[in-house]
Amino acid sequence: MNTRYMNPYLAGVLLGLLLLMTIFISGRGLGASGAYRSTWTAVVVQAAPAHAAANEFFHYDASGGGPLKTWLVFEVIGVLIGGFLSGVVSDRLRLFTERPPHVTIPRRLVGALIGGALFGAGAQLGRGCTSGAALSGMAVMSLGGIVTMAAIFGSAYAVAYFVRRLWLPAPEGNHGSARS
């Protein structure tokens, strides 16, 4: 059912070259989570200007022509298009909830919602996510980006054991098999 995925090292080189090209042209790296902030800022600035003015979180560079007219918002729109095109090319477009067989759909969706909320908040606190801080930070050897990367993956590994039932079936017998 799945068309074979690209060789990970080849995908990595292509992604690295894309990132390098981005830095060469735009002087900055890739990103993702920042687009949420721009979108929400656009909503609040319109709907509750006083609330927006009172909180520095909603301040944006007014010279650029509105909070939505930012590099990251356009880039994220591109990500949605690019992912969709790849799904078409490799015949992976299907509407379903991906989950391990032993996990119910509601459970998986609640997990995704909570995980998303944590990641969204954490990315704001940490000034970027896996794309903007970790990957792009690594490319320019940013200390802040590399520390964020270490914290993300370190924390995920530390917590993985405690939430293993979200992904791995209960072991049959005492040998903890990770086979799914």
Partner: protein, 398 residues
């Protein structure tokens, strides 16, 4: 010289670039399998290290390119966006993101990618992320102090460690290749049905060896900057291209005359510059000559640039480098600041009776010395170099 924004590519066009870059980003992520939460979380259970392979290969490739471009003089590393280091918020934010990753099965970029091919769990992650950002925005006034604490500025790992970027590059590539080999072994042990790639082992080895080789070559390659600096410091080069000089008297006269076509550039270290310099001088060290902003200042044909240093020798290095870089109108202060101080600021009384031009010069010095000394004292130190604020903004923070 890159980055092409904003001089060659306008800010409007840059948004189109962003869209196209996003298309490429989304396509590659999806092709690599990052639209699947089970594939992503396999990283944390030893079943599938695809994320690590793609992530580290991409990071190392881009890092290799950035170092190479900077060394070749193709990319002005002084203006590209470097995520600022606020360690407390970076660590706590990262810890929260890690929990979100393993609970939610995605990170923001991959969730967009999953949602684009119809994964409902990815769409829920996107919705959750939006709620998380909204929640953070509401509590932002409360966490603002913590968010802005512990700033180290946009420091890079090599600067922080005190090593060259080449060393960090080689180290990163070696660590990446070792991690690829180790995780491949773990993966085969934990999950015997792990997807076999269509590449034979020999080809992977060849690719790894190639990456290490290119990394070491780029890491050890002398940069264009270093080569130009070495040539500029070379005595024989300087003898072949002697620097024009401007006498202390002329510099003093033009300062007092408010001559707008004169641009004094102090090439000494910032700390020395802060203690004493001539009125109106900017501080640009020779190793800063390569940035686009410095070039814009130093290469103006309507300005006569005069390099200042304690002695003429030091300023000659700067003039030689400026000549190599093609800056048209450069000269050095004759005798350096030391002679300027001795002849203008503290002129020694002439030994005998003066006549003609000598007498006029002496009269000028007696008049100019105290006025310049007062100007120098009034400035205390001096304004910082004008070119340092032109960083490109990026990232996701405030």
């Amino acid at each position: 010289m890159g980055p092409l924004v904003p001089d060659i590519i306008t800010n409007e066009l840059n948004l189109i670039v962003a869209l196209l870059v996003g298309v490429g980003f989304g396509f590659i992520l999806e092709q690599a399998g990052f639209s699947s939460s089970r594939k992503l979380t396999g990283l944390f259970y030893g079943t599938d290290f695809t994320v690590l392979r793609v992530f580290f290969t991409a990071g190392a490739t881009a890092m290799l390119g950035v170092v190479a471009f900077a060394k070749l003089g193709w990319l002005d590393a002084s203006v590209i966006y470097v995520n600022p280091a606020f360690l407390p918020s970076a660590i706590v934010g990262g810890l929260i993101m890690g929990v979100g990753f393993v609970v939610g099965g995605y990170c923001p970029g991959t969730s967009f990618c999953g949602a684009s091919v119809g994964r409902i769990d990815a769409m829920m992650f996107v919705a959750g992320s939006f709620l998380g950002v909204i929640g953070f925005g509401e509590v932002f006034p409360l966490v603002r102090g913590f968010y802005q604490s512990g700033s180290l500025g946009d420091v890079t790992l090599p600067t922080w460690l005190g090593v060259s970027p080449g060393v960090v590059l080689i180290g990163t590539i070696v660590v990446a290749v070792v991690a690829f080999i180790a995780t491949g072994r773990i993966e085969r042990r934990v999950n015997s049905s792990a997807q076999k790639t269509d590449w034979p082992v020999a080809r992977h080895r060849l690719a790894a060896a190639g990456l290490i080789l290119v990394g070491v070559a780029v890491g050890l390659m002398p940069s264009t900057q270093d080569r130009l600096l070495a040539t500029a410091h070379d005595g024989s080069f300087q003898r072949a291209h002697p620097a024009l000089t401007m006498s202390a008297d002329e510099v003093a006269f033009r300062i007092l005359d408010h001559d707008g076509s004169l641009l004094l550039v102090d090439v000494r270290p910032a700390a020395t510059f802060a203690k004493m310099t001539l009125p109106g001088a900017a501080n640009i060290r020779t190793d800063e000559f390569f940035t686009q902003a410095s070039r814009d200042i130093l290469s103006r044909s309507d300005r006569q640039v005069v390099f200042l240093a304690d002695d003429e020798r030091e300023a000659e290095d700067a003039a030689a480098l400026a000549g190599e870089l093609g800056f048209a109108r450069v000269a050095v202060l004759k005798g350096g600041l030391r002679e300027f101080s001795a002849t203008i600021l503290h002129p020694a009384a002439p030994a005998g009776a003066l006549s003609g031009p000598d007498k006029d010069t002496w009269a000028f010095r007696l008049d100019a010395g105290p006025r310049l000394a007062a100007l120098i004292k009034a400035r205390g130190g001096a304004k910082p170099a004008p070119q340092k604020a032109k960083k490109i903004s990026g990232g996701c923070g405030v």
